[in-house]
């Protein structure tokens, strides 16, 4: 299941969907808004997506994970809009009969999501400044 939402992510619902009889392990990964990056203090993050393409890319990631690992269930949910400190911007849930596959799949899903899915974050800082995060952008 993949989903983009402007509301807080309901992790209980995701865990319930993954907790099926065939599963012996459920892994939940949450990416949450961190206060400090080095000396910069963050107030909140804003997420923007190219929504139809992001949904396609997420669905492709889910399908690929199910091909690579024998997953019982897999969910990827990304929140858009403003995400305050300590709240989750992304949730990945993978369940499998045994734990190695669920851990590996969840790790691969978040790493690949961060490389490929057209979603961007803007950091709002305590100084009043805001900036888009574009990793690898050529600085001039």
């Amino acid at each position: 299941m993949i989903h983009l939402t402007y509301n807080p992510i309901d992790t209980e619902q995701l865990l319930a969907a993954a907790s099926q009889r065939a599963a012996g392990a459920v892994v939940l990964f949450l990416g949450i808004t961190r206060e400090f990056t080095g000396s910069e203090q963050t107030v909140s993050l804003d997420y923007e997506a190219y929504e139809p393409m992001a949904e396609k890319e997420l669905a492709a990631l889910e399908a690929e994970a199910c091909k690579r690992w024998p997953l019982v269930h897999c969910s990827i949910v990304h929140r858009l809009g403003n995400v305050p400190l300590t709240e989750a911007s992304v949730a990945i849930v993978a369940s499998s009969p045994h734990r190695p596959e669920a851990f590996e799949a969840a790790r691969w899903l978040i790493d690949t999501l961060k490389e490929l899915v057209p979603i961007w974050k803007k950091e709002h800082q305590t100084t009043g400044e805001s900036h888009w995060v574009h990793p690898g952008k050529l600085e001039k």
Binding site: G31, Y47, E48, A49, Y50, P52, M53, A54, K56, H78, S89, V90, I110, L113, K114, E115, L116, V117, P118, I119, W120, K121, K122, W132, V133, H134, P135, G136, K137, L138, E139, K140
Partner: protein
């Protein structure tokens, strides 16, 4: 042909609009689109080289040939998660 390019994140803020129109010859490639984008919005210079172009919601290479009415987007380096 006219190609409309969707802009996101810093690209959208730098240009000040969420869609740019550029005029290209029939059969133009993504590489030609990049040059036309830079001409239409020089402010994109710092971002364009590290951005991808998506055509019909898929990452495209510079050799991809554009069709009139294609859905095209400029994808700056992503930072989801």
């Amino acid at each position: 042909m006219i190609i409309r390019v969707k802009l996101f994140a810093q690209a959208r803020e730098l240009v000040g609009v969420d869609e740019l129109e550029v005029q290209l010859p029939e059969g133009a490639t993504v590489a030609e689109l990049r040059a036309a984008l830079l001409e239409a919005a020089p402010v994109l210079e710092s971002l364009l080289g590290s951005s991808f172009i998506a055509v019909e919601q898929q990452y495209a290479s510079d050799e991809t040939v554009l069709q009139a009415n294609a859905e095209v987007a400029l994808i700056p380096p992503v930072s989801g998660g």
